[in-house]
Amino acid sequence: MKNLSLIIIIFMASIITACNSDSNVVVVYTSVDQVFSEPVLKAFEKETGIKIKAIYDTEETKSTGVLNRLLAERNNTQCDVFWSGDPVRTIVLKTNDIIQPYNSEMAKGIDAAFKDTDVYWTGFSARARVLIYNKDILSRADVPQSIFDLVKEQYKGNVAIANPLFGTTTFHISAIFNALGDDRAKQFMMDLKANEVIIATSNGDVKKRVMQGQVACGLTDTDDAYEAMKESDNVDIVFLDQDGIGSLIMPNTVNLMKNSPNAENGKKLIDYLLSKETESRLAISCAQMPLHKGVETPQDVTSLDNIKPMSIDYDKTASKLQEIQLYLKNWVENN
């Protein structure tokens, strides 16, 4: 029994000593996949000597876990910097009044279209919504070139999209609502449903289904798509509507939290994330398109200069999103 209590004491002690806190730290919460975000944060740590304390999100919670945690912690903010994979989540925080503006010097070269008007948040490295298709099923000529092709009879039951209640898919659909107007957009959604669109659980799931050949094509984000192209030779991507409304471009966003406990370090991290260096790194690791001019990228990463972007107001899209959320919920459920 004595041995046993000794072991218990040693374990307890090791826990207590593990709790030592550091003062030169920065706390970052991110909804960007850990595989991609962690190397960037580690590089910052190495360069500045400021210790990173990070919280990552999971696919299982559709990457909303961190956001909900930020909302729950609002009365006593623990987090300095929130790094989001898209502007929607950041805008939710802005509407909840728990973030503060920060105008980073590093973001000078980034187009104002990718920033909040009051610089509550700043965008960097962007992803685009693309069509991923299976080359064994669709010949080059048969590949849809517009999102509106997806409602055509020839693709019936052969198109996948992720659950439109979550993530970038919601954002994509609200952008379409804003571009087309509610009536035409709702008609499009009805047509999609009539064409037996498959609702996958996530963008990753869309990617997987296309790779496996369960469906011919589907809508996903560029990072998932490039991942798929790395893993398998039988898939390719298309930027849709290059002759029409254009492709949706979604930047990463970063913001400083209100009452941030380590605000100075937080600003340093934001500066770092908004640097060309980070954009280059993300271009290499997950094919994100730099927003700065003149960032070196791998050859297969499409440059923003070569894509026709959808014209979009992120704030309006975010408020549209709130508005149609219930509609989308019914759309999903009555499938």
């Binding site: 806190s21 919670t61 909303t64 876990g65 909900n68 945690r69 006593n76 623990q78 369960q214 959320q325």
Partner: protein, 534 residues
């Protein structure tokens, strides 16, 4: 057996008074640290906010969804209990070959995250049919959950079967055929265990989120999640969880009323001889059933995981190992501390629960209430309470994780231990009272050594569950803390399949390794006190 009265210590000598206050102090601490945060959050949500809008959203659709969830959970409960009974009978009442092997190995699905099993199954169905739509359905959820929870039913029912006094079976066998005895004597006798198994599995399945979410099947928990994560409507989410908790409580209350003292996972040291049967005519069939079950529930998913891990050589496996390496010490220590505290508080609660006073019994219900709360809501409750500047020493350290684990799993320890205590004849304790032996000696030298195997099992179960806990931990872990299941799930997003499967295999091996280490460390103690069971 039926005449055994339970230990009740009514008489307060001076040392007993001291002991009583100690019990109350621990009960009080538990309420302050874990019970109060829950009450606080639910209270503020339910009474301070204007919830009329939220209540309006509790419409027919909500209730039809709730109904759907009830059907799903009942199906899983019935299917698991049914197969658990067959497995329990084959493994605990017959002399089939390799029983001990099957008894241990078939428990494996309980140790693996349901989400990961769901992923493996979906891939398998795709491999088999070229299409995973069959499993991405109501049917798929029921199938996967049943495969996961059947071992639990097997454990509960198996131990009930082996606790039947052999004379009861033998006297029936003098009169009727074996088959008739099984159906008219054995099964009715273990009815309490069948009900307990159903109720527990029902509760586990109705609060399970990851499997239906992964298969894209809409149930009540995914609805709560949607309210939470797509609408950020914390109020409605909490009201809906209250509904879920209410159902669980009602069910457990009904169970309690029906079977006052059912042996739940009773790992009793009571000496009723377990009678084993030779099912001559069905031996082959029985053996076949065991093998088929082993293949379906364990071999297949593992083949898939192995194939995915090592398809491209050792590379992914090594990478996964390096990723998880920094989490091992931390996760294992946290789970260890939490399991020790869980067992300690569980013992106190169990000791309370066998006393005739109502106040004492309330402890068990508090534990139950916390157990029934969905993980996310529990996590959020703890955040809302502990995330104050004054509680920084708790919220920004690993203490918060330990609080999370202890709150969640003490119910299981308490339930196991109280059933073990109930199995001990009253006289064993009364003799020592009369001899004037102090309460502390009575506990440390008589009661605890006798129930040591159960305490060990409670410890192992709390440890395994804590080590794998995700839903609450992800809400609570202090930034920068490395926790094993968290890392698996955060890395999982957008990582290659080979890496994900490798991580699963590593987590599983670590769990298994820890169980073996504890077993070899604690076995001498158990052997010392329990040579009687050899």
């Amino acid at each position: 057996m039926d005449s055994i009265k339970h230990i009740n210590i009514k008489n307060g000598s001076n040392s007993l008074l001291g002991f009583n206050s100690l019990l109350f102090v621990i009960y009080g601490l538990f309420i302050i640290f874990i019970g109060f945060p829950i009450i606080y959050t639910f209270g503020t949500v339910l009474f301070e906010n204007d919830l009329s809008n939220s209540f309006k959203l509790l419409n027919n659709a909500t209730f039809s969804l709730l109904f759907k969830s009830l059907i799903l959970a009942s199906s899983v409960g019935i299917i698991s209990t049914f197969f658990g009974t067959i497995l329990g009978f084959l493994l605990y009442k017959t002399n089939l070959k390799f029983r001990s092997f099957f008894k241990i190995v078939l428990l494996i699905p309980l140790f693996i995250s349901p989400y990961i099993l769901a992923v493996a199954w979906k891939d398998f169905f795709f491999f088999l049919f070229g299409n995973s739509s069959i499993i991405s359905s109501y049917f798929g959820v029921i199938m996967v959950l049943s495969l996961i929870f059947t071992p639990l039913a097997m454990l509960i029912i198996g131990s009930a079967l082996s606790n039947i006094n052999s004379q009861i079976e033998e006297s029936a066998l003098m009169l009727v055929s074996f088959k008739k005895m099984v159906f008219s004597i054995m099964l009715p006798l273990i009815k309490p265990a069948l009900i307990t198994s159903f109720v527990l599995i029902f509760i586990f399945s109705i609060s399970e989120f990851s499997v239906p979410a992964f298969f894209g099947v809409k149930v009540f928990t995914t609805e709560i999640f949607t309210q939470f994560s797509a609408f950020y409507n914390h109020g409605l989410a909490i009201i809906q969880s209250t509904l879920l908790i209410a159902i669980c409580i009602i069910l457990l209350y009904a169970e309690r009323k029906y079977i006052a003292d059912a042996p739940f996972l009773s790992v009793g040291s009571k000496g009723t001889n377990n009678k084993m049967y030779d099912i001559i005519n069905y031996r082959k069939l029985g053996q076949l059933f065991l093998i088929v079950w082993l293949i379906i529930s364990i071999v297949l998913p593992f083949i898939i995981l192995f194939a995915q891990s090592f398809k491209g050589g050792m590379h992914s496996f090594i990478k996964a190992f390096n990723l998880l390496l920094p989490t091992f010490t931390n996760s294992i220590s946290l789970a260890f501390v939490a399991a020790v505290i869980s067992v300690f508080i569980g013992f106190i609660a169990a000791y309370f629960s066998i006393r005739p006073v109502r106040v004492y019994k309330s402890f068990e219900w508090v534990l139950l209430l916390i157990f029934a709360i969905p993980s996310t809501i529990y996590g959020i409750s703890l955040i809302k309470f502990y995330n104050q500047p004054e509680f920084g020493f708790i919220y920004s350290t690993s203490t918060i994780i330990i609080i999370g684990y202890v709150g969640k799993y003490t119910f299981i320890s308490a339930k196991l231990i109280s059933n073990a205590i109930k199995q001990i004849p009253n006289s064993i304790d009364e003799v020592s009272q009369i001899q004037g032996i102090s309460i502390f000696s009575r506990l440390s030298k008589i009661l605890i050594p006798i129930i040591l195997p159960t305490i060990f099992i409670a410890f192992i179960i709390s440890f395994i569950f804590s080590l794998g806990e995700l839903g609450t931990t992800i809400k609570l872990y202090p930034p920068g803390t490395e926790i094993m299941p968290i890392k698996v799930f955060t890395i999982m997003a957008n990582a290659p399949q080979a890496l994900i499967s490798s991580m699963t295999l590593i987590v599983f091996s670590v769990t298994l390794l820890m169980i073996s280490i504890f077993y070899f460390m604690l076995n001498p103690f158990i052997k010392k006190y329990h040579s009687i069971n050899d």
